[in-house]
């Protein structure tokens, strides 16, 4: 009975556009959903460093290398902003990180695809970061204060990620025939997985209604996906790159770009662990965590020694 009135007060606050802060009363479901979403988001930032890290040593110029290094470093920072906002909900970071390393937590399935050529780096910045920005711009307005603030910070920085990617795409699209082929091939491979980044269609997304009622999300998966397509089609035509969808066409009635059917079987197979690189990504994360242990131990021992002195 008491919870019932607390729930009503909570929903009224959200309705009024107030932000919920860590120590405010919140329904258990709200807390659980947020922990799940924020930690998945954090893991995605961390695992997202791997496909791009693959190309740091092979960047074609110092300028490109500096840009890519800074971008990958930002992704680490974004992971940390997000872990810190998850912790305000009462989980330990070590607990959440273990869930990633030992396979019980999910992360964005797109990072299980390989980066085969340098053109993939440009395409990831343009499409994958572009899709992430659409999602994060919405999350920056979400009802949970710490998550909202983390996303505001992230969005400010991601803009550079998208632009550095688009610059690479634009440069290669004006390059030699081989570079043109390379960039078109990268776009062909990344386009569809980028669209599935927004999650299953609304009709198959059971959590969405509740998340939208509590303004954790303000737009549905399908709305965000459509927004991304509408933003991206003109960007592709400026650089003369084709999007690999024969059904893509402008709908003058809705003002949207209609697009073809997405391959959800592939999406769910990749989420279940059967994408091209799932095992490789997890192995790389575990090795990095284990190899970092001596650094954490040494810093801890030094801090203990100074405290004792």
């Amino acid at each position: 009975m008491e919870d019932e009135s607390k729930l009503r007060a909570f929903e009224a606050r959200i309705e009024a556009g107030e932000k919920i802060e860590p120590k405010d009363w919140m329904p258990e479901r709200y807390r659980k959903q947020l922990i799940r979403m924020i930690s998945q988001h954090a893991h995605s930032e961390i695992v997202g460093m791997l496909p791009e890290g693959n190309w740091i040593t092979r960047a074609p110029s110092l300028r490109r290398k500096m840009g890519l290094l800074a971008k990958v470093q930002d992704e680490a920072g974004h992971g940390l902003y997000l872990y810190c906002s998850a912790e305000t909900l009462g989980v330990d970071r070590s607990e959440v990180v273990d869930q990633l390393l030992y396979g019980t937590a999910k992360y964005s399935s797109i990072f299980n695809y390989p980066t085969l050529t340098w053109a993939d780096i440009g395409t990831i910045g343009w499409l994958v970061d572009g899709a992430a920005i659409v999602n994060q711009t919405m999350l920056a307005k979400c009802s949970y204060g710490p998550y909202s603030r983390a996303n505001i910070r992230i969005c400010k920085e991601e803009n550079f990620h998208k632009k550095q990617g688009y610059e690479i795409v634009a440069t290669m699209a004006k390059g030699t025939p081989e570079q043109k082929r390379m960039v078109q091939d990268a776009v062909n491979r990344w386009w569809w997985p980028s669209l599935t980044m927004f999650g299953p269609p609304d009709k198959d997304s059971p959590n969405s209604a509740e998340l939208m009622k509590w303004q954790v999300k303000l737009q549905s998966n399908d709305e965000l996906r459509q927004r991304f397509v509408n933003l991206t089609v003109p960007q592709a035509s400026v650089v003369g790159v084709a999007l690999p969808d024969p059904d893509l066409k402008y709908n003058s009635k809705t003002g949207n770009w209609d697009f073809g059917a997405l391959n959800w079987d592939e999406f769910f197979a990749v989420i279940k662990g059967n994408g091209p690189c799932n095992r490789q990504r997890m192995r790389a994360r575990r090795i990095a965590h284990e190899n970092g242990k001596w650094v954490r131990d040494a810093a801890g021992a030094y801090a203990a020694k100074k405290r004792a002195a």
Binding site: E21, K23, D24, R31, S94, A299
Partner: protein, 114 residues
């Protein structure tokens, strides 16, 4: 999840002993001053074994683009905060003291620069 009182975060060290021989450092809150003359503002938090490393991590996490001219770090467990449940009684005493605002006072017409 039990509601926590008087502390900004739960006890960050609570799970240490069980954690597969890996230690989790305490949580620090980070406050950054964007430019001289501006107040320090809460930026977020991080884990660090001591204050010195907390400051270095804070620079790397919260000031990669010159967002700070000064940084404070403080271990979260040392912060005491009000609790939302106590808000009505805690903050209410200020609500009826309109005489603390200049609009409360009537002044003669025509007087300037008062």
């Amino acid at each position: 999840m039990p509601q926590r009182k008087g502390q900004l975060k739960g006890s960050p060290m609570s799970k240490d002993q069980n954690h597969q021989g890996d230690s989790q450092w305490p949580i620090w809150e980070v406050f950054v001053q964007a430019k001289t003359g501006a107040p320090h503002e809460h930026a977020g938090s991080l884990h660090a074994p001591d204050a010195e490393i907390a400051l270095q991590n804070a620079r790397d996490v919260y000031s990669r683009r010159s967002e700070a001219v000064n940084i404070w770090v403080v271990e979260s467990k040392n912060i005491t905060a009000t609790t939302p449940e106590d808000n009505p009684t805690f903050f209410e005493p200020a609500a009826d003291k309109i005489y603390r605002h200049p609009q409360f006072y009537k002044i003669p017409r025509g007087v300037k620069n008062l």
